[in-house]
């Protein structure tokens, strides 16, 4: 095994270093390109492109990680620019502190505004930001006494950085390149490590993120603020570079332009927005003498890229080079990969039993189960949807070290009950208690923190993460949220170990490094289960865990559930497969038309289901469908 790992690592290193060398060369060429004598691509154009590229990076951070389209990217650019210029000209504050104050102010304002904006659905967010941008443009123009109106505020075209002052075009260019080189890795860091995983889950499925303890609004707010800081940085530089700042710099056109930079350059790449800014700024400089074609060409390119070429320029280059690369390396690359997979599965088949049994013995949580740990009580919960009782005074209980099943026809209220327990819906009446504490009403995030984990009917996993990353992300969300201001940090190696255990227990060890998008639907549900186990929940709620699983996966699932029960976890299973339920559950409830019609042990449940005539046609089926 060790030799194959070593060879895999070395293959990876080799391919990595080659592509990164190529990328580095491309970047160096890009940086030097203003000296190549390309018409209209001189230092001045490049400086402008670089400055606007910073703001475009900010716009892109939001699209990439938060799926939020910031159509008002120029708002904070304009505000910060005006702030910095006013501070220097009116109050005589030196440039550097003025710029810093401007940046901090922008961050604070963005954080506050983010409280409103970040909770908006995509379309509303986009238009709200567009409106903000237009409003700021208008307000800046409306107070000529302070802002000089449409003619704009003038300032000197130098960058006094304390020890030295940047004045020449070359000096400016070097400064901008340095700043960009410093900023891009910072935004790039967001993609890697645990933060990247969190944002990936957030982007793919805010709902799943929320159930795993990621505070969606807060995360979006963080992104929003980061984006505003980048825009503000761009603004304080732009004012000094142009020597003047006008209201339109905060306006609609500028905002849409920034979005265009990010999209045309390639929003999937950390450097894409800078490349987009360079390309389009150069283009507009090159055709500016031709009359009213600038907006036409710009709009057309923007549209064509959006409609037909999602990856943008960087995406195109990547596709092209990877094609060439694959053809070139097609012979020697395949074998070690296959070897690796073969080896991996060997290891996996031995490991899981070992791990889970050892965990059983020494898990401290197992030794000290207090009376209440993992105990769930649903107390006379009702939920009314538009006059229909989806749930009618339902009371159920789940105890530690027992598997409790909830059975019922479609529309009986199973999913609604589940959603209420996990905080996705709030009950019209009644309470949910966990370990003696009342949970309702409350957010899913709080449930996750309280020790409740959940899986979904159809797996909600981030497709662009690897299997292992998907398992990690849940545990990290709970214990490792320093980014969102929680201090409950745990040692990283403990987390790694836990994820490894969870993967092994779920029989996923051999595919841990594969991308989740390559994994089939049934397996994805097992991944979800592994993610839940990695949280070490005291209560695990599973929504139709058996549906869509192959026999082998079903057996694995039963084993996992049995081991959870042995460890003292309470497990609640919602399913209508009676065979599956009677195999693994200890006790259960039958729901019918929103009421509990049976409560007791699982044999009785089976008997009840088989010998009673049931009302299957529910009002919910014909009305609002809530099971999806």
């Amino acid at each position: 095994m060790s030799t194959s790992t070593a060879s895999a690592v070395s293959t990876r290193l080799r391919s990595l270093s080659w592509s990164s060398v190529a990328k580095l060369c491309a970047l160096v060429i890009l940086v030097l390109s203003p000296g190549f004598g390309i018409p209209s691509w001189n230092l001045n154009t490049a400086v402008l492109a670089g400055i606007l590229g910073l703001a475009a990076l900010g716009v892109n951070v939001l699209i990439r990680f938060g799926r939020m389209v910031n159509l008002g990217g120029a708002s904070f650019l304009g505000l910060a620019a005006y702030g910095a210029v006013l501070a220097t000209t009116r109050f005589g504050i030196p440039y550097v502190p003025a710029a810093l104050v401007s940046l901090v102010t922008a961050a604070v304002v963005a954080w506050i505004a983010g409280g409103i904006f970040a909770r908006l659905p995509n379309f509303y967010f986009a238009v709200a930001m567009l409106g903000t941008s237009a409003a700021i443009d208008g307000v800046l123009a409306a107070f000529p006494g302070v802002t000089q109106g449409d003619s704009g505020l003038t300032t000197t075209r130098t960058l006094p950085l304390g020890l030295f002052t940047v004045g020449s075009s070359l000096g400016w260019y070097v400064t901008i390149v340095v700043i960009t080189v410093a900023v891009v890795p910072l935004t790039y860091r967001l993609v890697h490590g645990w933060r990247g995983r969190l944002f990936s889950l957030l982007r793919e499925d805010p709902m799943a993120a929320s159930v795993h303890g990621i505070e969606v609004t807060r995360a979006r707010r963080v992104l929003f603020t980061a984006s505003a800081i980048l825009a503000a940085l761009s603004g304080v530089l732009l004012a000094r570079w142009q020597g003047v700042i006008v209201p339109q710099d905060a306006g609609l056109t500028e905002s849409v332009q920034l979005l265009g930079f990010a999209i045309v350059g390639g929003s999937g790449s950390p450097i894409g927005p800078v490349i987009g800014a360079s390309l389009l700024t150069w283009l507009s400089a090159a055709i500016s003498g031709l009359g009213d074609v600038e907006l036409f060409v710009y709009g057309l390119i923007f549209f064509l890229v959006v409609a037909y070429f999602q990856g943008g320029v960087v995406g195109a280059v990547e596709v092209l080079t990877s094609k060439v690369w694959r053809r070139y390396r097609s012979v020697d690359n395949r074998e070690p990969d296959e070897l690796k997979i073969g080896h991996g599965s060997d290891v996996e088949t031995n490991a899981p039993m070992l791990v889970s049994s050892s965990r059983l013995r020494e898990d401290p949580a197992n030794a000290e189960i207090p009376g209440l740990a993992g105990r769930l009580e649903v107390l006379t919960v009702s939920k009314i949807f538009g006059g229909i009782h989806a749930l009618d005074r339902v009371s159920i209980e789940a105890r530690p070290a027992l598997v409790t099943a909830i059975v019922g026809a479609n529309g009986a209220g199973k999913s609604t009950l589940l959603n209420i327990i996990t905080g996705v819906e709030t009950p019209t009446q009644g309470e949910v208690h966990f370990e003696g504490r009342c949970l309702t009403p409350g957010e899913p995030v709080e449930r996750a923190q309280a020790g409740i984990a959940r899986t979904f009917q159809t797996a909600r996993v981030a497709l662009d993460l690897s299997v292992e990353e998907n398992v990690r992300v849940g545990a990290e969300a709970i214990y490792n949220l320093a980014l969102f201001g929680r201090r409950d940090r745990r040692p990283d190696n403990r987390l790694t170990e836990r994820c490894r255990d969870a993967l092994a227990e779920a029989g996923l060890g051999h595919i841990a490094q594969r991308k989740t998008s390559e994994i089939g639907g049934g397996r994805r549900k097992i991944i979800e289960v592994a993610r839940a186990i990695a949280l070490e929940p005291r209560l695990l709620i599973m929504d139709e865990p058996g549906a869509g699983l192959a026999l082998e996966e079903l057996a694995r699932l039963e084993k996992i559930i049995a081991s959870l029960r042995a460890k003292g976890t309470s497990v609640v299973i919602v399913d209508h497969n009676l065979d599956f339920v009677s195999n693994i559950a200890d006790c259960g409830y039958v729901l019918e038309l929103g009421r509990v019609v049976y409560a007791g042990d699982v044999n009785g449940l089976r008997e009840y289901m088989e010998h009673t005539v049931h009302v299957t046609e529910s009002p919910l089926e014909t009305g609002r469908h809530l099971d999806g």
Partner: protein
Amino acid sequence: MSLLLQTLYSGLVNGALYGLIGLGIVLCYRSSGVVNLAQGEAFTVTGLITAEVVRTGVPVLAAAALGLLCAVLFGAGLERIILRPRLAWSSERLIILVVAVALCTEGIANFAVGPNQFSFRSLVGNGTVRLNNAVMTLDGIVLIAILLLVGLLISWFLHRTIFGQGLSACAENPTMSSLLGINVSMMRMIAFGTAGLLGGLAALLLIPLSIVTYNAGLSLTLLGYVAAALAAMKSPIGACLAGLLVGVAESLIGSYVNQLLAEPLVLGVLMVVAVALLGRRVRFGGVVRA
């Protein structure tokens, strides 16, 4: 008194424009779930085409008919050619797509007619009504009347006819609607075409009182969106009334506070209100529930 009347009147006229645009946005949203950020462009398309054709000597009514047709085609084409093949896209890509369409339209308009201001002769004659020294143009009165009429008509249509209820069902659940035998795509195209028609109508009645430039669309869309958002993106008649409210607020601020501040203030304040209204019930970033 006459200043107040005049202010209210001009506010209502502008508000009727925002109302018509907002109504179009509501229609598009209800049929497709897409906030049509290119809605204001229908106004520009009709305005510029009519003005250009009138300049060549064609009677204004014929030119207006052509302009209106173009707006309808613009709306329907946006749905048929650009949105329909891409409706499965995630919402952020759809947003960028419609913005790109709006920008592209402005670019084409700029290329075709340059940065100049355009206008044309009134369709309903230059008659005015005087009330207590306040002058009200016939165009404006017709515009307001049309807004209310269209608002009521569409409201009735959406809520009281099978066809209209089908339209609303499209956005709620397209697959289910098509299984039930509703031609979802056709519904959407009709909705977008109607939205184009509304933008065009507004252009024909308002531009004679004012002007149009190649870049009028986006900011108009914004004010229309505020109207639509105040109506929770749902009620057609609500969007009309909200549009009038936006117009009157803008006009009052313009007359009594500061002309320059009118639009940004209305945009800023009402946007926050609308956003707060819309955002209240939203969780998980607006993504559908489990």
